[in-house]
């Protein structure tokens, strides 16, 4: 057995129970019949594929093949009533490569093996309605020299690509699973494999026109509002490398005719700084729209579509934050949402997916000039006040747990550090020294921190709140990494329910803390104006945000 592995951050693939629950609640949609053909067993994958179809509003009947009957299926005619999706492994082209048959002592020549693979390839090509996915599984060392096996592996992948197969990552393969149950996929990868199947089966790709990208931790590593121009990284080295590659890729897409736009939860003058400071490999003028505000990103994208006079189904949205992706996906299902990878190794697949969205065989002069043409239509695009999607259901599925730490005594390093480095979600921008905190605590005050975990992993200690002895919150900050998860609402509801006095917040507007102003506006009759004490009615706050508190498993 292998011990638990750390969960991947970012958008986690669907798990067994998530797939089961989704299907339990699914009350039917457009019917579709699917044949998921593979030489191994597809028993484990079937439920995941139905769930991935259900996410797209499709009630799929999924047929899988009996074990080891894939070759016979290929030799017979398609039924004509079901959509064919074939999940191919190297041994579907060259049976001698199948781990389950052992390693043959005598082998045909590499040339003969390739000829045999071409026969299978011709059979696949003769099924034009079929969609192919190819799992780049490792192959056994058949040949006297290991380089020959490697060359054959690469050649087979090329052969699959020549059939327009989509590639599945090699780490989706499990030799253990394949040997014990006949399923070539790791259980952890079933959700993402099913997504690839459903995407191939049900998403008829129409070429997209606009790529809308987030900035922080997408265009560069880091947050521009918190880290400043010198603190973000997007050069060809270290943690900025993947962002550098992304920027160069965007520029290439632009030259090929794609339109680029930015949506970012930032102040506009802050968001553009890395571009104007010459820190980026892509120029600000490469974008036809640049929207930086604290409104819902779905609203920002709608505004862009309206200004550019383009349909929302021509948009692709890239963001690293699963909450933002879910919000856009929920509010505008026709926008293709693509998560920015949180690790370098996922970049090839990510870029390949984007390239597929904007695929074209010929690049014309008009394509090259498209950005300039659209820029002439309107220099700036600003977001409207449209509300975003209700994310309650999505947030529940995140399995969030909030741990509240009383930092009144003991180590308070992180809590104080947060107060002194956070700009956006910051009550008043006030920085505090250790002696300031001591003075508040010695006067009967309290200092709280909060850590957030969800099924993608730990976000660490992300919130800090200092309350003085009179019940006035003098510092309240939260990391922008966890915006939109309702953490601040839940924390305030918790605080309002504590047996300490809570009278108000020492509010002051700064150049950067609009997110906090928006938060205040949620529970005040009028938006905050004058700096000073913003009164809090604990009972009212507790009731208003009780549902937010329910989103979390709370530990205090």
């Amino acid at each position: 057995m292998t011990a638990k592995q750390p969960a991947e951050a970012g958008v986690a693939p669907m798990t067994f129970l998530e797939a089961h629950r989704l299907l339990s609640k699914f009350d039917g949609g457009t019917p579709a019949s699917l044949l998921v053909g593979m030489s191994g067993t597809g028993v484990q994958l079937e439920m995941f594929v139905r769930a991935a179809a259900a996410k797209r509003g499709i009630d799929a009947t999924v047929r899988t093949l009996p074990f080891n009957t894939f070759a016979q299926t290929l030799a017979s005619a398609p039924s004509g009533t079901e959509r064919e999706i074939f999940l191919l492994c190297p041994w579907d082209f060259v049976p001698e490569l199948d781990w389950r048959t052992g390693i043959p002592a005598r082998l045909s020549s590499p040339r003969e093996l390739r000829d045999r693979a071409r026969v299978v390839s011709a059979r696949l090509a003769a099924r034009p309605g079929a969609t192919l996915l190819y799992l780049q599984a490792p192959v056994p060392p058949l040949f006297p020299h290991p380089d020959e096996a490697g060359a054959l592996e690469q050649w087979l992948a090329s052969l699959a690509l020549s059939l327009h197969a989509r590639l599945l990552p090699a780490d989706a393969f499990s030799l253990s699973g394949y040997l014990s149950t006949g399923s070539p996929f790791t259980s952890r990868s079933l959700g993402s494999v099913a997504e690839a199947v459903a995407s191939a089966a049900f998403e008829i790709e129409t070429p997209r026109k606009v790529l809308v990208t987030d900035l922080d931790n997408v265009m560069w590593a880091g947050g521009i509002a918190e880290d400043g121009v010198d603190g973000v990284a997007c050069g060809p080295e270290g943690k900025g490398f993947r962002h550098f590659i992304y920027q160069r890729f965007l520029e290439k897409l632009r030259i090929e005719g794609a339109l680029l736009a930015v949506v970012s939860r930032n102040d506009p003058d802050v968001a553009v700084r890395p571009f104007r400071a010459g820190r980026t490999a892509i120029d600000e003028t490469s974008f036809v729209g640049f929207v930086a505000s604290y409104h819902a990103k779905s609203a920002q994208i709608r505004e862009l579509a309206s200004r550019l006079n383009l349909g929302l189904d021509s948009f692709v949205f890239v963001d690293d934050n699963p909450i933002e992706l879910a919000e856009v996906s929920s509010a505008i299902p026709s926008v293709r949402c693509v998560p920015f990878p949180d690790r370098d190794d996922a970049m090839p697949q990510f870029l390949s997916e984007l390239q597929r969205c904007f695929a074209r065989f010929v690049v014309t002069a008009e394509d090259r000039e498209r950005t300039e043409m659209y820029r002439r239509r309107g220099e700036s695009v600003t977001a409207s006040d449209l509300a975003g999607a209700d994310l309650t259901a999505f947030l529940r599925e995140l399995g969030m747990s909030l741990t509240i730490h009383d930092r009144t005594t003991g180590d308070r390093t992180r809590a104080v550090q947060l107060i002194n480095k956070t700009n956006q979600f910051n009550l008043n921008g006030r920085r505090v020294a250790e002696q300031d905190v001591d003075a508040v605590l010695n006067g009967g005050g309290r200092l709280f921190g909060a850590s957030l975990n969800d099924r993608a992993g730990s976000h660490g200690e992300i919130l800090s709140c200092l309350v003085n002895g009179d019940g006035v919150i003098t510092s309240f900050v939260m990391s922008c990494r966890v915006f939109q998860r309702r953490v601040e609402h839940a924390f305030l509801a918790w605080l309002a329910a504590q047996p300490y006095p809570l009278k108000g917040m020492a509010w002051a507007a700064t150049q950067r803390n609009e997110p906090f102003a928006l938060f205040l506006a949620e529970f005040r009759e009028a938006p905050p104006g004058e700096d000073g004490l913003v009164p809090i009615d604990p009972l009212s706050v507790r009731d208003r945000f009780a549902a937010d508190l329910d989103l979390f498993a709370l530990t205090s």
Binding site: L17, V43, T186, S187, R188
Partner: protein
């Protein structure tokens, strides 16, 4: 093992065996449950792997012949 983990494990068993939420699975064994065939077994094991992010090899998966054995397997994997 936490209550949440036990509940998830019960849900996996119910899903794999085609049971509704009213059926108790904590005393279940492969011998006394006709629905627990080879396909259900594969679903139980892959469900556990998928849900808890663990990997179970063939020899260990064969030892999961009851709900209690699954609880022990998870505990051995360090799942709390």
């Amino acid at each position: 093992m936490t209550e949440g983990t036990t509940n998830r494990l019960e849900e996996i068993f119910r899903a794999a065996l085609g049971f509704g939420p009213e059926i108790a699975v904590t005393g279940l064994t492969q011998q006394n449950e006709p629905n627990w065939d080879s396909v259900a077994h594969v679903l139980i094991v892959s469900g556990i792997e998928s849900e808890f992010g663990v990997s179970i090899d063939l020899a260990d998966s064969l030892r999961i012949s009851s709900f209690e054995a699954a609880v022990k397997a998870l505990a051995d994997l360090g799942v709390e």
